[in-house]
């Protein structure tokens, strides 16, 4: 069983000052799932991803990727940050941003060559942005910027993808395009973990879900645990959501 665990988190606790943002998180994510992390604002969803990726240093706890510490398994993990976390007026093109996805495998100092450029172009094509490769990134729409971020992660050619609200501020067409890419990743055996806000679409988009509100409320298949009981425990009020079946 442990061999096909993509991510295993033990006792993870994170605090910015005195108040814990995440408390004693134990989480096992099996390989090949498309999982949503849901919870109210301030529940620590983004923090959880950042702590897993080592951007934030946890107070305690451990993170294992395929049974080994994250630091040794970096190349297996890709990250899509929130779109608002960078300055889109930065002087660079869509292609250049996607090319950055290959920097990790290159390591220090080495420059991207033909192989990396090909990888970046393929990633751009996958998200339908090849025609915009030379576009300055500030001249892309919000949805296009989100696709560029997604392409950058695809260029990393990883096994596990962490995404922080990839559907935020995108139109219905882009949302549809992105979810199709995520589902294609799952079909290819990849593991995709998404911080998600729209509860209505959880049953349609995802097969696994984790309820989070500082503590982990529940984790499992959408079919089994996406119900009023868990929603109420997580959000504190009785949530009326249409649940499949």
């Amino acid at each position: 069983m442990s061999s096909n665990l993509a991510v295993k988190i033990d006792d993870l606790t994170v605090a910015y000052n005195y108040k814990p943002v995440l408390w004693d998180i134990d989480l096992e994510i099996p390989e090949g799932v498309l999982m949503a992390i849901v919870g109210p604002n301030g529940a620590g969803k983004s923090t959880l991803i950042k702590a897993i990726l080592g951007i934030i240093k946890p107070i305690a706890g451990s993170v294992a990727i395929y049974g080994k510490p994250y630091k040794k398994q970096r190349s297996l993990v890709a990250y899509v940050p929130q779109k608002g976390s960078v300055d889109w007026d930065f002087p660079t093109t869509a292609f250049d941003v996607v090319l950055m996805g290959t920097y990790g495998s290159l390591g220090w100092i080495k420059r991207p060559g033909q192989k990396q450029k090909k990888q970046a172009l393929e990633a751009l094509e996958q998200v339908g942005m090849l025609a915009f490769k030379n576009r300055q990134i500030s001249q892309l729409s919000g949805g296009q910027q989100q696709r560029v971020f997604l392409a950058r992660a695809l260029a990393q050619n990883a096994s596990i993808y962490f995404m922080d609200e990839p559907f935020q501020g995108v139109d219905a067409t882009t949302e549809r395009a992105i979810i199709n890419i995520l589902k294609a990743l799952r079909e290819a055996g990849k593991t995709v973990i998404v911080v998600h806000h729209d509860l209505q679409t959880v049953p349609e988009y995802f097969d696994w879900v984790t309820f989070l509100n500082v503590k982990k409320i529940a984790t499992g298949t959408v079919k089994n645990i996406f119900n009023d009981d868990n929603l109420t425990k997580t959000y504190g009020i009785n949530y009326k959501v249409a649940v499949n079946e």
Binding site: K50, L53, G54, I55, R74, V77, Y79, P81, S85, V86, D87, F90, P91, T92, T93, D96, V97, M100, Y103, G104, L106, G107, W108, I109, K110, R111, P112, Q136, S138, R152, Q156
Partner: protein
Amino acid sequence: MTEYFSMLFTDYTLRTISLGTAVLGIICGMLGSFAVLRKQSLLGDAISHAALPGIAIAFLITGTKDSTILLLGALVSGLVGTFWIRGITSKTHLKSDTALGLVLSLFFGFGILLLTFIQKQPNANQAGLDKYLFGQAATLLESDVWLMSIVTGISLIVLLVFWKEFKIMLFDAEYTKTLGFNTNFIDILITFFIVVAIVLGLQTVGVVLMSAMLLAPAAAARQWTNSLGIMIFLAAVFGAFSGVTGTAISASYDNLSTGPVIVLVASSVVLISFIFSPTRGLLFREIRFLQNRKDLEQDKTLAFMYNIVFNHENITHPHNIRILNNFQGFTKKTLQQLEDKGLVTITGQEWSLTKKGFDTAQNLYTNQSMVNE
């Protein structure tokens, strides 16, 4: 001015100063681009002020006015100031502007205190330290220019070697961390070279105006390009241009202090760039805006006319101008422009669409409905 250029070949001092200010412009432009893109524009101001006590302390300890030793002191206190700023922002709830302001005034106040203390000393050697306040390019020696050139060369090599790391770090620091790069190291490297560039400029431009030297070329360069490499190159060119031109102007007029003139030239480059850049400049943006507005007004007026004419059997049937009066966007000028294009004919108080006008309007409609689909 022509006199300046002939003197450039004969006058050794002037040549040294021109070379010095040019090299200074290059390194400031290059590293200033980083400060601007990291939104740390004010960091330069704080660091340059923080360097002042270092100069005074170095003088008090060694008793020498050798610029290399004094600048070493400036480098140390500039770095201390920088790490205080970083410490304050990461350890307390204070925002970075507060931290910058605190460090700037604390270090600058302490520096001024030391300078006045030095001036009261019964020692003839102390005169001239105040040149670091507003800079004095005339005191640049050949050895100073060599020092600047070597440091510029080193920072250029570092820039080229770590180009990929600098670029990704400037754009998205957190993501860079997830790829396994030591972002602290890259950050310290960038900050260190910014401090070095500032310290190098103190003798020429001075503590007070140094940040302009760092920011102006970079801000100007950003207006002309959307490529990071070209931006840094242009910033270096603008910096060198400001240095040389500023020196030329101040050499051509007696008693004009070089540092402030260089800064004024650099600011003029910024102003010109803000106005005249083809893509981001205010002028062309305004022209494009007015042009678009005019085109739209004409299109809408034509479309309105088309609607009126549409139900008539004879499309060129004349109508009274007054029925257009309530239509927003319609003016005598738009009507005139439409007539000039041959889309409308006006006879007295009546207008009628020409065949060409009718077809153009019809095309507008099909294009519009295509956009909507």
